[in-house]
Amino acid sequence: MRINVGPQHPSTHGVLRLVVDLDGEQIVSLKPQVGYLHSGFEKTMENRTYQQGVTYSNRMDYLHGFAHDLAYMLAVEKLMDARVPVRAQRIRVILTELNRIASHLVFFGTTMLDMGALTPYFYCMREREGLMDIFELTSGVRMNYGSFRVGGLYRDVPEQFEPMVRTWLEAFPKHMDEYFNLFMGNSIVLARTQGVGVVTREMAIDHALTGPSARASGLALDFRKAAPYSGYEDYVFDVPTHEDGDIYARILVRYEEMIESCRIVSQALDMLEPGPFRDPDRRISLPPRWELEESMEAVIFHFKLVTEGFHPPRGEVYVPTESARGELGYYLISDGGSMPYRVKVRAPSLANLQSLEPSSIGGLFADMVINIASFDPVLGDVDK
């Protein structure tokens, strides 16, 4: 029997359409049909300057927007040879890791929702509100931030930033402990998730699976350790890995990653020193407003940057980073103009979706629902 789990469905985590062939309750084949959120990001970004591109990047994976912003900024900075000051790097890491926690909280809440438990969802959304307040303090918006600039940040963080983050960090691990014991110790959850939707290590390598789902299958790959960027080599943190590859392992890996992210954030806060928040090179960064009253060159740089944007040299660049979903990288090709010639986003969710079919075949239809949730696809990332 062929069933269409349509694009509008409460549990497909966005507009994912699945065409499932069933034999009774068992799944014979499963074909994901994507593209219902295709927005032409890459072609649109090819018609905007490099700095304007940051308004687009975080709307792809809207749950971990800072990861896309960071990956895009790192690629542009590599192309321009911009030097990011240490303070800006640390603040970027803090914001990205807090956003990773927020993304995993949505994952936790919606996966439990798919299993029928309504309460964890509200607990997780309440925790997220504290994080949104921190993001609103630094970027001005709760979601879809545009606060990264080439060479650093658009402004320095206000003084309430550090006490706010520390207060949140003190409260969070205790809450998460309580929720985790409450929900993951539940025998129904254990019965539904252990041994279900298994992805072996060979399957993960063959199907281009990266991120927490791959680490749950024994593939210990994390680009924060393998190719450290933005100062990650200064922090001490573990990368949780499990061998089972089932849904329970995928949930467990993300839970442990949240704890590790808290560690990174507190270390980065301890190491935060006063300093510039942006590359002072005027060819890349806008001069501060007071300088426009004093220096003619500053006015010229300001004019060129605002009307045209900076021109990177011809060439191509790719910087791999680790988002909450897997390997994320922006492949930029510059033709010497102020708009990129080609932007290709290596978005993790599209490649991760390929593991959905092999891990669901032979299983039950009800298990497929939580299986989708456990791979944590974000359809903006899939469809770009």
């Binding site: 994507v34 593209g35 295709h38 032409g40 072609k43 018609n47 300057t49 304007q52 321009m80 040879d81 390598i205 063959d206 199907h207 281009a208 990266t210 210990a220 790959l221 994390d222 680009f223 350790k225 393998a226 190719a227 450290p228 080599e233 890995t241 060819r283 060129k304 605002v306 009307t307 045209e308 944007g309 900076f310 021109h311 990177p312 040299p313 011809r314 060439g315 191509e316 660049v317 790719y318 791999p320 390997e327 990288g329 492949y331 090709i333 033709d335 010497g336 103009g337 102020s338 708009m339 010639y341 080609r342 290709k344 290596r346 599209l350 490649a351 979706l353 390929q354 469809d383 770009k384």
Partner: protein
Amino acid sequence: MTHHEPNGATRARVLESLTELGGVVSEFKDMISVTLSKSKVIEGLKVCRAEGLEMLTDVMGIDYLTYPGHRGKRFAVVYNVHDVHGGNRLFIRVELDDGEKVPTATGVWRGADFLERETFDMLGIEFDGHPNLRKILTPEDLDGHPHRKDFPLGETPTLFNDGRFIDPAAFRSGLRGDDPGLTDWKGGARDGVTSTQGELPGEGGTQG
């Protein structure tokens, strides 16, 4: 998990095997690309997988139609492979003309499935032997391949109540590579940085 240094021995071995297949190695800002011919590319990918670069993370297509100063074929397909520790990364390129097909990599990695379909959908590059080569992201009734440079962006002009309209293409602030702009001065990148693709005639005036 400790920080893995890119393994020099693996990289040297892979590059040697690929050069034997006729690959041309180029490097830009520590990104290593190997250009292979269409007939050798699958063999090259198998060599990569056998020698330790076991993961294919991306297949992307590039349309060089409006790239200023480009003299080669119109399209390029780039395979992004790396090892399971993430340290060694290689980009395998194939250059194609419009209408040329390239053999599929799904025999080497099953994960090339959606990635090649995306390249086909966006650029029209066909992969021989792909089990299910059809559109993946664009709607069924969209003819053409959006990421080609001759496919328009499809912008709707903004219409005001009194009849004026703004054409977004005329309001674009950025410049293309061959567009001199108001002053023909490009500002330039940091000192000492040059591009590997050579300078366009007249570009020597950058501040460097």
